[in-house]
């Protein structure tokens, strides 16, 4: 879609020249199809497929809403950059915080209750395929006594 330069309608703040070219109903229909597809995953019950479709489709839907409904396609670039920077800051926050929040023991400390809440459940409900997921070290799978084994696993890892 050829978006006219925003400069051209500075005097008509309401006029979004290019907006008329978009067929909103079509965009909406595509969004609904995507929604339907994202529901197939949980119905099939395959975890990897579910996660990939669910989050992949969420990103696609978000992109379409932002581009066509919020008219970021014809907005000034700095607006898009601003929003992307804010998302980037959240990624930064996630990456820098993850090493602390996602682990339950360190050199001289252990968060017993978080770990206790964690391990039995993980072993009971998510046996096998799941337990190795989410960065859980080998010590986790080791059976009910897992949290005794954890420091050893940690030590071995060093």
């Amino acid at each position: 879609m050829s978006a006219p330069s925003p400069h051209s309608h500075e005097h008509h703040p309401d006029a979004h020249g290019g907006a008329h070219a978009t067929n909103y109903v079509k965009i909406w229909a595509i969004l609904l199809v995507l929604l339907a597809v994202s529901l197939i995953g949980p119905e099939l019950g395959i975890r990897t497929v579910t996660l990939l479709t669910a989050f992949g489709i969420a990103v696609v839907k978000a992109y379409m809403v932002a581009k066509y409904f919020m008219h970021l396609n014809i907005e000034r670039r700095f607006v898009v950059q601003l929003l992307v920077v804010c998302l980037g800051l959240m990624t930064l926050f996630f990456l820098a915080t993850a090493p602390d929040v996602m682990k339950h023991w360190g050199m001289n400390w252990r968060n017993e209750s978080a770990k206790n809440a964690n391990i039995p459940e993980a072993v009971h409900h998510e046996a096998g395929a799941e337990a190795g997921h989410e960065a859980a070290p080998a010590g986790h799978e080791a059976a009910p006594a897992a949290h005794e084994a954890a420091p050893a696993a940690h030590g071995a890892g060093e």
Binding site: P13, H16, H20, V65, H71, R76, M90, T97, M102
Partner: protein
């Protein structure tokens, strides 16, 4: 009140109202972003939360996604009508969007009632705490958006302040966007 001359200037090339809405959305991105990052960190660190999450009602979530997507469509159509100078049509379409907001909230109310009756309260465990906090914060934005939309629609019907139809629309799409991510995070990932 007389509008100051400052409001009518547009040195950046984006009309003042829309510029302010973008800044508002930027600050909202970090509010919801912070909350969702906390949720993600805990969720990835607690594999057992998947079992708690299995009690959420995927179909209710999906229906609400459908409602919000549709209300976004009517909001953008309202904006189109406002651009064409058709205030009455814009107002009607905004009312349709408000109807979407109301439907969304009613579905949520039933959903929460059912869940709370079955013992999944906010204090049940970490997952449900995040579930109610995230959806609740989003719900507040839905309510706020609907109220503002009613005011904007009343003005638009008289042909006044038509540029505001676009502004509330952008905000509404953002509310929709947040839900687009909350849906897989809270309902699908199990």
């Amino acid at each position: 009140m007389v509008r100051p001359i400052a409001t009518t200037r547009s040195a950046s090339g984006v009309p003042t109202g829309r510029l302010a809405v973008w800044w508002l959305i930027a600050s909202e991105i970090v509010i919801f972003g912070g909350l969702l990052v906390c949720y993600l960190l805990h969720r990835l660190g607690h594999p057992e939360w998947a079992t708690y999450a299995s009690h959420t009602n995927t179909w209710a979530g999906a229906f609400n996604t459908f409602v919000l997507l549709t209300s976004s469509l009517s909001a953008v159509l309202a904006h189109k009508a406002a651009e064409e100078g058709n205030g009455a049509k814009a107002a009607n379409l905004l009312l349709v969007t408000c109807g979407g907001a109301l439907t969304f909230l009613v579905v949520k109310a039933f959903e929460w009632t059912y869940e709370i009756q079955h013992g999944f309260t906010i204090t049940a465990n970490g997952f449900w705490a995040f579930y109610y906090t995230a959806a609740g914060l989003h719900g507040l934005h839905v309510i706020a958006g609907a109220i503002i939309m009613l005011i904007v629609a009343a003005d638009a019907r008289k042909g006044k302040e038509l540029q505001r139809v676009e502004l509330i629309g952008i905000y509404w799409h953002f509310v929709d966007l947040v839900w687009i991510f909350l849906f897989p995070l809270l309902y699908i990932a199990k």
